[in-house]
């Protein structure tokens, strides 16, 4: 097989960080090549350097044998490299169709042909079996749908090399399956595909070979089939891992049903968002919220956290009825909500890791009771160590961290408020295997400490592993609950899809 892409000795330094250090990377035509590594290993940076987002400090790039050095994503695209970047990078106020065809609208002599544009967008979405109005404004879609649109866009071009940086982080199984179908088909057509993911199942399901990065350096290149899972994890983490460490944890022990609920709702709902529902969370239990994409999980969380105003029902915390009409009020009552959209709703990009970490706690204390510098530093040191956040130092702007590490900072922000109830919306999105393990342990720890956790994840296994009970949402309505012994992936899937009869 021919070498499609060859990178030799690529290096890239940011202030205080060596992001890439003498990296070699090869992709053949007609293969799916996984690019793996921990959060902050340098995967995204490698991709950005290759596609001209940043200039490389050193290194040689060859595509199809010819030396290339694209100066911008546009130049890369013209060379036949089509990329889906890690953070969804589309234009929110444009329509789906406009986003998919942006910069390469069909039409004659520069004149737009709207029918062709829509047709093309619809075709691109149809390949992913995505049913979605091409005239809808992109910003109104859920993160997952936006991600699918971004993928559709990347597929809608004749490329030789397709790069997908964590495209599956916010997708559920159905969409992932569709994506894989297309990836295999493209592979058969002779494309080279670079695939970044933190889901090892997906690596084994679809890739031919893989390259592992650690701390910006290449660990090695392997044939996927020849590398056992544990060894792969070991290569990524740089240490021996035992099978026990990664065995599925037993379902969490059931909570004490006699204990009064920390958070309870009665008939809480909002027209057009979620039908009225009853829910009660007890201290020391992890409750899952299951559902397909767009089933209303996020909107339920928003309602609980006072981001949207409920138009019916009541809510009580520690048995006392209360009104939650702003996040500020929610935080004051001991709630915490780690949003799924970390870029828009989570990060303060230009502020430091330290400030991002303590902002919620400081907000809860109020402006006048400022944390002292020593307290702040202690807090940072604690959480940076506890969550193994990879950052040159706490004063680095958080936008310079890798995606997974940003996610950890946000988790830390909420843990620092020492909440009674924490709502985690896709908390493990984009987090590497090691860290996922740590976060799951953390959740177990929180439960042991008596917190109530509301856990939302598109990964069914993760839900089953971590939760003692799962509430199932379908079409914005709470349709069922499974607990304890009944809680299996199969059963849950049927409930979510509404096919359990």
């Amino acid at each position: 097989m021919s070498e499609l892409l060859e990178l030799r000795g690529v290096g890239k330094r940011f202030p205080g960080v060596v992001a890439l250090d003498d990296v070699d990377f090869t992709v053949r035509a007609g293969e799916i090549h996984a690019l793996l590594g921990e959060n902050g290993a340098g995967k995204s940076t490698l991709i950005k350097v290759l596609t001209g987002v940043y200039p490389a400090d050193e290194g040689e790039f060859r595509l199809g044998g010819a030396s290339i050095r694209p100066g911008s994503p546009r130049a890369a695209e013209e060379l036949g490299i089509s990329t889906v970047y890690q953070e969804v990078n589309l234009v929110p106020s444009l329509s789906v169709a406009e986003n998919i065809t942006l910069g390469r609208q069909p039409g004659r002599a520069g004149l737009l042909n709207w029918r062709a544009i829509r047709r093309r967008a619809r075709a691109a979405l149809a390949r992913l079996e995505l049913d979605c109005d091409v005239d809808a404004e992109l910003g109104a879609l859920s993160v997952a749908h936006q991600q699918m649109v971004a993928i559709a866009r990347a597929l809608d071009t004749r490329a030789r090399l397709l790069i997908l940086d964590e495209p599956t982080a916010s997708l559920d199984e159905h969409e992932v399956a569709e994506l894989f179908k297309i990836m295999r088909q493209l592979r058969a057509d002779g494309l080279g595909i670079v695939f970044v993911t933190h889901f090892l199942d997906q690596v084994y399901a679809v890739t031919d070979r893989l390259t592992v990065l650690r701390n910006g350096a290449r660990v090695g290149e392997f044939a996927t089939a020849g590398l056992p899972r544990l060894e792969l994890v070991g290569r990524m983490l740089g240490r021996e891992v035992s099978a026990a460490e990664f065995a599925a944890q037993g379902a969490a022990s059931p909570a004490d049903h006699a204990a009064p609920p920390v958070l309870a709702t009665h008939g809480l709902g909002r027209r057009g968002a979620v039908a009225p529902f009853d829910l009660s969370l007890r201290g020391g239990e992890v409750v899952g919220l299951g559902g397909l994409l767009g089933s209303g999980r996020t909107e339920t969380a928003r309602l609980l956290f006072g981001l949207d105003r409920a138009d019916s029902g009541t809510i009580s915390v520690h048995g006392a009825p209360c009104r939650i009409d702003s996040p500020r009020e929610a935080v004051r009552l001991g709630l915490a909500f780690c949003s799924e959209d970390r870029k828009a709703e989570g990060l303060l990009p230009n502020l430091s890791v330290r400030e991002n970490l303590l902002i919620a706690q400081q907000g809860r204390r109020g402006a006048l009771r400022a944390l002292t510098r020593a307290e702040q530093e202690q807090l940072c040191a604690h959480y940076i160590a506890a969550l193994q956040i990879k950052t040159p130092d706490p004063e680095t702007p958080v936008k310079n961290l890798s995606g997974g590490n940003q996610q950890k900072v946000l988790l830390a922000r909420w843990l620092a408020t020492q909440p009674a109830v924490i709502i985690l919306d896709e908390p493990t999105r984009g987090i590497d295997v090691g860290a996922k393990q740590e976060i799951e342990q953390l959740i177990a720890g929180l439960r042991a400490d008596g917190l109530a956790v509301l856990f939302i994840s598109s990964e069914i296994d993760e839900v089953v592993r971590n939760c003692s009970r799962v509430l199932v949402l379908r079409e914005r309505r709470l349709t069922g609950e499974i607990a304890d012994g009944d809680l299996t992936a199969d059963h849950l899937m049927h409930l979510m899809a509404g096919t359990h009869e």
Binding site: S72, N89, V91, L94, L102, G110
Partner: protein, 328 residues
């Protein structure tokens, strides 16, 4: 719930103003024929408003890219000065017009260079030319108000064709061409994409810097055109006052017309309505004899009113009120 057209509120304001005037002064809407051309207050509004409309057209694009151009007033003064100097030296009309628009293009390129290539913030970058540009205009005319004695030149601003005023026709032509250019090609889309999310646009392969530069150049050209009309209207180049405060009126027109200052989606038809609305308001104040110290207030109130009605937060709040009433 159907999404309402963003043109609704400015249009409603426009109609309301016309009605208000017509009630207080029935002669307001009367149009007569005088010397074979139309004559009346609505004609005045169109003629006087045409300059702001032209400047606001360019401003719309700049604002859509997420920028702002404060230098348009100075560019109007420069273009007028160029016209006066060239006509005085006996150059032809065609050359004069090209040179005046060219001066605008040059100014726009300077702004574009600073903003798009060198990353200076638009307010700062264009303030420079706003401040320094008037000096340039004064240097051109040597601090004097130069009288222009060219009938064809004056005709551009004050002439009538088939009984219709020429200046609004020219500006309307500019709007139609801009609309076709922006909406029939992908240019308009590119501008909106860059204004909404510059980084994503770059990732999507758009030449963001070039698109932004183009917007500023276009805005400069429009301001140059408005400079021609202004000089032709008063048959003189007044480097000291021409185009004063025009950036404010243009920005108002754009905002009232429904284009957000944060960039992204733009509505050139809205801008045209916005400019007419502002002009009508000025005329109205006049007609109703509002005392001078109070005169800016209704204008301010109108603008805030439209801005409020367009703000999502207010809409939500109003809807909340309505909802509560429904529930009761």
């Amino acid at each position: 719930m159907k999404v309402r057209s963003p043109l609704l509120w400015p249009l409603a304001g426009f109609v309301a103003l016309l009605l208000l005037n017509a009630v207080f002064n029935p002669a307001f809407l009367k149009i007569t024929l005088l010397d074979g051309h139309l004559y009346g207050v609505p004609v005045d509004i169109l003629v006087q408003g045409s300059r702001t409309m032209l400047v606001a057209l360019g401003m719309t694009l700049v604002i859509a890219t997420g920028g702002i151009d404060l230098s348009v007033g100075s560019v109007v003064a420069i273009a007028g000065a160029v016209c006066a100097v060239l006509l005085q030296d006996g150059h032809g009309l065609a050359l004069t017009l090209v040179a005046a628009v060219g001066a605008g293009v040059l100014a726009g390129s300077a702004n574009g260079l600073l903003v798009a290539r060198l990353g200076v913030q638009p307010i700062v970058a264009t303030l420079i030319l706003m401040v320094a540009g008037r000096g340039v205009a004064q240097l051109l005319v040597d601090g004097q108000v130069i009288i222009i004695a060219s009938a064809p030149f004056e005709f551009l601003a004050n002439g009538f064709v088939l009984g219709l005023p020429l200046a609004p026709l020219l500006v309307a032509a500019a709007y139609v061409s801009a609309h076709l250019l922006l909406r029939r090609t992908a240019l308009g889309l590119f501008v909106e994409a860059v204004g909404d999310n510059e980084q994503a646009s770059r990732f999507a392969g758009l030449a963001a810097a070039r698109i932004k530069t183009l917007a500023y150049v276009f805005c400069g050209a429009c301001a140059g055109g408005a400079g021609i009309l202004t000089a032709a209207n008063i048959r003189a180049a007044d480097a000291y006052r021409a185009g004063e405060n025009m950036e404010l009126d243009a920005i108002f027109a754009v905002v009232v017309g429904g284009t957000a200052l944060t960039g992204g989606r733009f509505l050139i038809l809205g801008t045209a309505i916005g400019a007419l609305l502002i002009q009508t308001l000025t005329t109205t104040m006049y007609n109703l004899g509002v005392p001078p110290a109070v005169a800016p207030v209704p204008k301010a109130l109108l603008i805030i009113g439209v801005a409020l009605l367009q703000s999502e937060r207010t809409t939500r709040w109003l809807r909340g009120l309505a909802g509560r009433k429904e529930a009761a």
